[in-house]
């Protein structure tokens, strides 16, 4: 229960923060679910299904904290040449990538 309460507080906090920052418009629900599935499964094949890290680093709130959102977004869109991180621009729009960064920073909902 404490875990759940902590999560609740966190998501409330995140919601509060999101309200302050100019949040990326959320994709339509169907598309949002599709993107979240892709992040868990396809990003997960390198970053771990629970995003705790694998060949690529962990993408958890605590590891991304303090990192520049813009540069995370451009890493997602354009990849990191010279490393296995590929560019996702063919599959994500600019706004969607921004939304993905927001989701990662606040922690992915546990959608299985």
């Amino acid at each position: 229960m404490t875990d759940f309460a902590a999560k609740l507080v966190l998501s409330l906090l995140a919601a509060g923060l999101a309200a302050q920052a100019p949040a990326a418009p959320a994709p339509a629900p169907g598309r949002a679910a599709q993107i979240l599935n892709m992040v868990r499964q396809d990003c997960g094949s390198c970053h771990g299904l629970t995003l705790k890290g694998g060949l690529g680093p962990a993408l958890l709130p605590q590891t991304l904290k303090g990192k520049d959102a813009l540069s995370l977004k451009s890493t997602i869109l354009y990849g990191r040449p010279g490393t296995p991180m590929p560019p996702w621009k063919p599959f994500l729009s600019d706004a969607e990538a921004e939304w993905v960064v927001e989701q990662l920073v606040k922690g992915l909902p546990d959608g299985r």
């Binding site: 396809d42 997960g44 094949s45 390198c46 771990g48 705790k52 560019p87």
Partner: protein, 387 residues
Amino acid sequence: MAGCLAAAALLAACAQAPLRGTGDLGVVVERAAGRLQLVETTGARIIGQVPGLGDLSHASVVYSRDGRYAFVFGRDGGLTKVDLLRQAIEKRIIQAGNSIGGAISQDGRMVAAANYEPGGLKVFATDTLELLADIPATYGDGKKSAKVVGVADAPGNRFVYSLFEAGEIWVADLSDPKRPAVSKFRNIGKEPYDGLITPDGRYYMAGLFGEDGIALLDLWNPAAGVQRVLDGYGRGQEKLPVYKMPHLRGWAVAGTHAFLPAIGRHEVLVVDTVGWKESARIPVHGQPVFVMARPDGRQVWVNFAFPRNDTVQVIDAPSRRVVQTLKPGKAVLHMEFTPRGEQVWISVRDDDRVVVYDTASFASLKELPADKPSGIFFTTRAARIGF
């Protein structure tokens, strides 16, 4: 069953399932649910479930030599010993923070886990899962540690594996588990991402991500060192981005030729295993992930990386032509042949099912429900070097 009622003492025995072998059993990994489906290939059916295995993304499985126990290596560093007959977890430990796979020794007494975090190889007793040896993958000034990939068993109770960041291949001889003897091969190439051993246990190959080419070690003649083969097989052409690292483990040897995934290309490479020269490239539907030979070597089945992962292609080995293109569904992750190859089982993650195909007619024979299935592993692996 009437006999069972006769004596109360016999009740316990009668309550148990009838005697059976395990040669036609296997597991399907349900990666998000952290569960195994136990399957039987003879009836093409699910016979049970074993839950409670943690994070199974990228999970791999090796079998005890009697084909009764599955050792499951989970991404979360979990190592679980599962009894296929009792359909239960025999023992489970968390042995690392982040793990990629493992192997079982020639004598069947040890399993080795290849770990990302902390990078290294840990060796456990198969009967108790007690830690026997811990070999950190430190390199350079001895302070950096590399992710271990591509671990394979080799004859002589050795484990061979690669160090991703370090660009090294290590051969750990565990003849005496208390005193592992490690030979290190350095400067084998940039970023080995996976490795395999040939079915005869002679050659270890590491695929390189950071450059074109494959590092080859002849375990019958390790003094000759690591050789580079297929050097620059795509030089001059720009590589496509790689959305999923290919796997070499399920590699395909058909006759004197090996079929390998070309990294970052829509091609399967054909290499002759005598001179280790490229002998052909077969254009395929997408970037190959698994390239697997049917046990008789006549066909080679290929699945593909995101976003072309709804397709499987079949190559006819002698003519090296794609003879069949199948669409099993969204996100095909893995393929496993029945022991003699008359069927192949294919996991389709986003459609939540496993599809069983007849490999002669290509007809889909059956679909089994499974929650986000990834790897499929049959007990035939128990008797194969490199599996």
